[in-house]
Amino acid sequence: MIEFIISPDGFIILLLLFLLGALGAALLKNNDESANYWSSFFAIAGSLWGVLFGLGSLFAVRPLLFTIGASPFSLLQFSFLIDKLAAFFVFIICLIALFCSLYGIDYVRQYYRKYSIGSLGFFYNLFIAGMLLVVTATNGLFFLLAWEIMSVASFFLVIYDRHEQENIRAGFLYLVMTHVGTSFIIAAFLLLYKFTGSFEFSLIRNGAGMIPGSVKNAVFVLSLIGFGTKAGIIPLHIWLPGAHPAAPSHVSGLMSGVMIKTGIYMMIRIFLDLLQPFPLWWGVVLLITGAVSSLLGVLYALTEHDIKKLLAYHSIENIGIILLGLGSALTFLSLQMPALALVGLVASLFHTLNHATFKSLLFLGAGSVINQTHTRNMEEYGGLIKLMPQTALLFLVGSMAITALPPFNGFFSEWLTFQALFQGIAAPNSQVIWIFVIAAGALAFTGGLALACFVKAFGAIFLARPRSDEAKHAKESSPFMLAGMWSLGALSLLFGVGSGYVSQVLQAVGGEFAVFQNLPAPFLHTEGGWITVGGFSSVFAPAIFLALLLALLAVVFAVNRLLSRRQTVRTGPTWDCGTDLTPRMEITSTGFARSIILIFKGILKPTMQKAVEYRDGESRYLPKSRMIKLGMNDIYEKYLYEPAQAFVLKFSLYAKKVQSGLINMYILYILIALVGVLLFSL
């Protein structure tokens, strides 16, 4: 059975399942219920198949390489390569898609008779299929086709809730940014084609030696911008905080959990696989980008009170952490330390997996809350832990995982990332130790700030008293939604406790690259559940988990049985300083983050507007109402995008003059062009 699944036919069936789901949903668009069931069924079946396919290929002895059909165009081959790296990403995509689809069965009910469920199912399935093609395509042109399928399908999912003007805006910004990114990617592939004569990745890899250094550098910069736009690194991130919140929540989970990782996948593929060897500064650039993205991502998340935007900014932060691992891998490779580079690569792959699980869990949790309260504004939540206990528990698990608290999975990948950076500082012949110091400092700051941010988020959403009527009447989510979330929560714990085994598999993924073969001695050891980095440090997840559990049980037992048996527990009102206790007394998420924002005001540029209306305009002693508006200056829009836009606009206005509308003018242009071509060809 498993041999059949991981054969080319198995992969085609995988794609067909999603295509069938897409087409069937489109055909059934007149009946919301059946369109939902049809598309969900095929998405789930496809994802299950894909999880098996991914797992099977991860442990397969040799990579799967095949081509579908004969292409009419010589440059465009529908060729696929499923090596361990691709298999790992297929696994992640399908794993997350499985639980998001499960969740989606109940979640999309709110859109019945409001929007077409058929088109949602169509684009949803197409989106997953597009992502699968992206990570398996091994021909540049075919890859770009897949990339476009993924981008366009996700664009339509972003603007699905089209009655909100804001969503349309976010969607178009996404469309523009993703195509700016794609143009950079196309340029990179064209450069590679010019010097290697092929779009096939295998031929590019073989011809990488013929590419001059300057061209390689150009390809690096182009693909960093192109794929970085999709991954959401700062300052190319501006589409992300708008687009992820706009989509339905299970789609946000997929976009944030896995789609942005396709950018990471291609960076690994191009830098580590295709363009070996490369200069030192590539890794340094990635490290700095990662440090900036992680630190600024979490700082911007702190300023948000829109729950989904907050989560979207945390995706930027986590992409930064992934880049720290990847950047250290590249740096170590340039410094001829492949054994250390493998630590960095495993760290970034592990964090990719972990971020996919806990971020989609958090988005699904946020979706459940929004479904009940009909707002994304965290200031209008509160007290939901009593009304939605399971959602609250799972959101807590997600929060603990994303803030790297043991024994959840986030801790172990962040631990590995720290180790990679520490090795960079400790290495005796490292010329770039200060870059590593900055990166490690950024990671440590990020960890602390993320903790603050999730205390704020969890506290504002679930704790204290409800701050709006909707929050008062919230109910627990329906079974399929809970099932999706429970599975992801369990996986967050499982990948944490089993981190030794997970990193063992990921070490094999990294070990497949040519640069990591024939390592003198591996620096990263993963034996018996331990993760050991050289003689430097080690961590054993099951012991931490067991110790926590045992200690908790012991404390509860000792206190409740031995120490205070006869004491009674009463409930009473919170001490209210003698006034009436209202929800206005609780801390708001804006208030919670305000002190950190003020500390970082040099970077964040917070703004405050005050308006006071007086009862008597003359005397100005008795104010009738006061209003304070807190906000932020978006420095990227102000200093990067607005000037760029102004330039493009000005240039277009000049270019417009060419379009005179006179037919003889156009004939003149044609004449000039022809003469030009003639002269050029002489």
Binding site: A392, V437, A452, G459, L563, V569
Partner: protein, 308 residues
């Protein structure tokens, strides 16, 4: 004999930490020309609190009810994962510095959540301040330990304690700088002057005491005890990583007596330093605290520069 120590190791921290608080209070009282309560008073306080009835806010959820247990359990674990006066314990391979830092962060996380949970204005603001201070302190904490890792070639706390002792004289300067950086973090994380006033919750600027304002009875006892544990852990780490003399490598009665005596001496020095600071200076304004924490970070950066 060693096995007995292995089993007892997780109990050292909770059993000794109230004494530590008592000693600090006593020294403070003496410095301020007061008689002060006996050093065993914290034990009596805990005993009293454990036998009181409890009132819990009607707005509180299970987070509020469970947080004291979780926070206390976390300090127990960390207490077992760090070198106290015996280096040769079965938990030694688990004493990774990042694991300890992030395990302590679990306690901070639930403490801050419990502060918000009852919906009083005090708790929420205190949680906000606590998270601000601990977010900024974390980088100083990780880096000051990391300096020692650079010197000793391991991030395992037991190995660090073992090998800082034999580190050559050129690494003395960075270790001193890292120690200063660590001491600042100790004051921040232990909730001490100039960051926090451990004696009262009467003003809004108090952090820890305002977060646990709604607790009473056994849960308050656990919260106070856990805070004492945390201070004990931070002092022990400071004493054993930066001044690792007298630690036991192999079990023998002589070594045990020396280890306990030296350990007591080192902790007394820390208690004296804290009492001295708390009697000598005023609490800082909240927005001046980041400057102090950044100083801790910069001291560590300078230390790295000195090593390299």
């Amino acid at each position: 004999m060693n096995i007995i120590f292995d089993i007892l190791q997780p109990l050292f921290v909770p059993l000794l930490s109230p004494l530590l608080i008592g000693v600090v209070k006593k020294i403070k009282a003496k410095m301020q020309n007061r008689q002060g309560a006996g050093v065993l008073q914290p034990y009596r306080d805990l005993w009293k609190l454990f036998h009181k009835d409890e009132v819990i806010s009607q707005d509180a959820s299970w987070i509020f009810r469970m947080a004291p247990y979780i926070i206390f359990a976390v300090t127990l674990i960390v207490g077992a994962f760090i070198p106290i006066f015996n280096l040769n314990t079965f938990t030694a391979p688990l004493g990774d510095l990042l694991a300890v830092v992030y395990l302590l962060a679990i306690g901070t996380f639930f403490l801050a959540l419990a502060g918000i949970d009852t919906g009083s204005a005090f708790g929420g603001f205190a949680s906000s301040r606590e998270m601000t201070v601990s977010a900024l302190a974390e980088v100083g904490l990780i880096f000051s330990f990391f300096i020692l890792s650079l010197v000793s070639g391991s991030t395992n706390l037991f190995t660090i304690a073992d090998s800082v002792l034999v580190a050559n004289i050129t690494s003395l300067q960075p270790i001193i700088l890292a120690g200063l950086g660590y001491f600042i973090v100790l004051l921040a994380e232990g909730g001490r002057y100039p960051f926090d006033n451990p004696a009262t919750h009467l003003e809004l600027t108090m952090i820890h005491e305002a977060m646990i304002l709604e607790y009473c009875g056994r849960r308050l006892a656990l919260m106070e005890w856990a805070a004492a544990n945390k201070l004990f852990i931070f002092m022990t780490l400071g004493a054993n990583l930066f001044f690792p003399w007298g630690l036991m490598h192999e079990f023998s009665l002589a070594a045990l007596i020396v280890a306990v005596a030296v350990f007591a001496l080192k902790l007394s020095a820390f208690c004296f330093a804290i009492a001295f600071i708390e009697s000598g200076i005023a609490k800082f304004r909240f927005f001046r605290l980041p400057d102090l924490l950044i100083v801790s970070f910069i001291l560590n950066i300078v230390a790295i520069g000195l090593i390299k």
